[in-house]
Amino acid sequence: MSALLDIAELAKRFEVAGRRLLHAVDEVTFTIGRGETVGLVGESGCGKSTLVRLINRLLDPTSGSIRLGGAELADLRARSFAANPHRARIQMVFQDAGDSLNPRYTAADAIADPIRRLKHLKGAALRQRVEALADMTGLPRELLSRFPHQLSGGQKARVGIARAIAVEPELLILDEPTAALDVSVQVLILKLLQQLKGKLGMSYLFVSHDLNVVRLLCDRVLVMYLGKIVEQGPAAEIFGDPRHPYTRALISAIPQADPARRIGRLRLGGEPRSPIDPDPSVCRFYGRCPRGEPRCAAEMPLLRSAGPARQVACHFA
């Protein structure tokens, strides 16, 4: 699999009061192959959203590189990226379709907008394209003239997906696309996403809190903790044999209907360390980690290989 997206040592630091630096994304390196679905998991505040905004070129990185199919995007300014031909190659489906759709746009307007701006289609050709997209995403054509408040949650999700794939992106970033939906609708949207990926040959970066959904949809998983990737590998291995203590805590927090699977669960105490001017020689997870040995406070563990396609950042994993 040749890499579509190649992220190397990408960092974003925000200056906060008193010239201190908040390390939101700290020297992150990973790739996404063509046709691959990569899951990004971690708790709120771990830098997932900042990372997504960097890749999506809505934020300028402090350092590092973002290569998409060989083209370097990190040097392009976020401000002018909207007019850049690369803009169409990365698209995003936002978390709450209800909040991310313009309330004064009909479903057709919402889907047509990116095509008009980035593909410069007009008139009948534009209308045909919008109808084709509605068909592709399972949105009944008669709903195209409706406004967001006249659509159900599932229908809004379909509009959000239709407008994201309208400009034929190579990379689709999905930020909790089903978090606001009922399970019966969630199933339909997940299946739609799976089917569209095969049909259109896209790669997905799938950001989610719902680990059960990540497990079903993703080929590979990246686990982030306080700005760093602490573990990555094939989804089956991450879920079957988590190595990093944080990954283990994350997986043992998945609610289990079956009491037999609730044995030996790991709960995290303590408070996360501050991401502001973090000590470069202390493991970010130190203080919450059930292991936490002196070495963890003296030497930051680096992401190292732990089997083919598997990496983990812990001295003891």
Binding site: E43, G153, D182, V183, S184, Q194, L211, S252, A253, P255
Partner: protein, 322 residues
């Protein structure tokens, strides 16, 4: 079990008057919660979970009207109490945790004071004592550095922390009944686990009865003793949590389980539920509101819904159960 339940809801019906007609939001809903027991209300949006809780708490929207039923709590019918009597019960005996802690907390009052307010109003604490007791509550919900956090405003705290403040407020006066409406939606799974453990421990310690409203079946199964499944304003099944998971009897419960990503190996194995909720404004609503979506529909389904006891504490409202 012969003990008197903490809460017994019986024959509860609620209607909402709208310009487009009367919506029959709840119809003849009945369930019980025993002392120390945690009961989950599960179902999709529009199933009536929150309306049930709001009706019991007496905080229905003015457009909503209770048309029948009782909610017996501590020897009195909550639905028949006056607003003043209810206000005495709420906060002291009856408590609720809302879905979004940030909007439920007062944004311009320090969190320690918000807890102290409840203690003074309902807990018989004196003003000088209240701040210290509020810090004790913060300790109890495991907020690190409680003395400092008591001086914080909600915007200065994380979502998980705000939810713990809400829980501290709800539990400040040791209520006999706690209603938790999706208390962990929007929180990280690690935080969710800690919050759920906490509610469970406190319920266990003080014998508090808990109604836990959620759409997450796995979460309900892990933390609740019994599960009540709602669909379009009806209770379709209620059963001990383990039983519901291994042997759902109502076709809707089974579909809901099959749609929940859990231990299923692949996306292909997840099944969706065909159809949608019926329009609850229709005057000719069928007796079984699931029948139009149901694959097991038979002629009997047009008769009034049965309450079949198919096992210990296991009721199913279906003429043709699995």
């Amino acid at each position: 079990m012969t003990a008197v339940p903490t809460l017994a809801v019986d024959d509860l019906s609620v209607e909402f008057r709208t310009r487009a007609g009367t919506v029959k939001v709840l119809e003849r809903v009945g369930f019980q919660v025993d002392k120390g027991e945690t009961v989950a209300l599960v179902g999709e949006s529009g199933s009536g979970k929150s309306v049930t809780a709001f009706a019991v708490m007496g905080i229905l929207d003015p457009a909503g009207k209770v048309t029948s039923g009782r909610a017996m709590f501590g020897g009195a019918d909550l639905l028949a109490l006056s607003e003043a009597e209810l206000a005495e019960q709420r906060g002291r005996e009856l408590s609720m945790i809302f879905q979004n802690p940030r909007t439920a907390l007062n944004p311009i009052r320090k969190v320690g004071r918000q807890i102290a307010d409840v203690l003074v109003r309902h807990g018989g604490a004196t003003r000088p004592d209240a701040p210290r007791l509020a810090v004790d509550m913060l300790k109890k919900v495991r907020i690190p550095d409680p003395e400092r956090r008591a001086e914080a405003y909600p915007f200065e705290l994380s979502g998980g922390m705000c939810q713990r403040i809400m829980i501290a407020i709800a539990l400040a006066c040791r209520p006999a009944l706690l209603i938790a409406d999706e208390p962990t939606t929007g929180l990280d799974v690690t935080t969710q686990a800690v919050i759920m453990d906490l509610i469970g421990e406190l319920a266990h310690e003080s014998g508090m009865a808990t109604i836990f409203i959620t759409h997450d079946l796995a979460l309900a199964a892990e933390y609740c003793d019994r599960i009540v499944v709602m669909h379009a304003g009806h209770i379709v099944e209620s059963a001990p949590a383990g039983t519901l998971f291994t042997m759902p009897r109502h076709p809707y419960s089974a579909k809901l389980l099959a749609a929940t990503p859990g231990e299923t190996a692949s996306l292909g194995q997840l099944a969706s539920i065909p159809g949608g909720l019926p329009d609850l404004r229709r005057p000719d609503l069928p007796a079984c509101r699931y029948s139009s979506r149901c694959e097991r529909r038979i002629d009997d389904c047009r008769r009034p819904l049965p309450q079949r006891e198919v096992g210990p504490r296991h009721l199913v409202a279906c003429w043709n159960p699995l």
